[in-house]
């Protein structure tokens, strides 16, 4: 669960970066850098959550349904993540704030689903500790 606090930090900083700039050009740069870092952090978080799921699905401390739901999400993530990165690169090339907004929407959507799975792991860990 604690890993997901990271998203609050990253998003708060991304917003703050956008507000704290001195010129339009620098605002664009800082917005791009912040969204790029957020995309990177999203990938890192997915790797961490996946690592937990691999172990807990193997030792069957998670239900089959939870594991299969995560696998379905993981396959979707593996398809969407490269597209998100490609979109970020495009938004950089053309300095398009609309494209950058789309990247942030995609990241937010993936974060939402990933957070749900992370919380599931946290709850299951708590249950296992009570046994």
């Amino acid at each position: 669960m604690r890993h997901f606090g990271a998203w609050l930090v990253v998003l708060m900083l991304a917003i703050a970066v956008g507000c704290a700039t001195t010129s339009k050009e620098m605002q664009t740069y800082k917005g791009l850098a912040a969204s790029g870092a957020a995309v990177d952090a999203l990938g890192q978080q997915m790797q961490q959550v996946n690592g937990i799921f691999v172990v807990k699905c193997k030792d069957k401390s998670l239900s089959a349904k939870t594991c299969n739901d995560f696998i379905a999400f993981g396959e979707k993530f593996k398809a969407v993540y490269p597209a998100t990165v490609a979109l970020w690169k495009s938004s950089r090339t053309v300095s398009d704030t609309v494209l950058r907004g789309r990247v942030e929407e995609m990241v937010a959507s993936l974060i939402s689903e990933l957070t749900t799975f992370g919380m599931t792991v946290g709850l299951d860990v708590a249950t296992a500790l009570k046994k």
Binding site: R2, H3, G5, A6, L8, V9, V10, M12, L13, A14, I15, A16, V17, A20, T22, S23, M26, Y29, K30, L32, A33, A34, G36, A37, V39, D40, A41, G43, Q44, Q45, M46, Q47, Q48, N50, F53, V54, C57, K58, K60, S63, A64, K65, C67, N68, F70, I71, G74, E75, F77, K78, Y81, P82, V85, W88, K89, R92
Partner: protein
């Protein structure tokens, strides 16, 4: 305020410390030249390419048969 909250959370999130620090640096940095800006964005792009490669080769859990708990 956001920085204060981030500072409190940073010790709890080892995997993201570097990224948060980088964002703080970006926030505090004075205006850069176009060349410096391009170099920083290039570095992020390289890191994202590496991350994509890792995600694409990431091994997901083995599927399970529901009912065989």
């Amino acid at each position: 305020m956001a920085i204060g909250a981030a500072a409190l959370l940073i010790p709890m999130i080892p995997g993201v410390i570097q990224i948060v620090r980088e964002l703080v640096d970006i926030m505090r940095s004075p205006d850069l030249t176009k060349e410096e800006t391009a170099a920083k964005l290039d570095a992020i792009a390289v890191r994202l390419d590496a991350r994509v490669a890792e995600i694409e080769t990431m091994i997901l859990p083995e599927p399970r048969v529901e009912g065989e708990e």
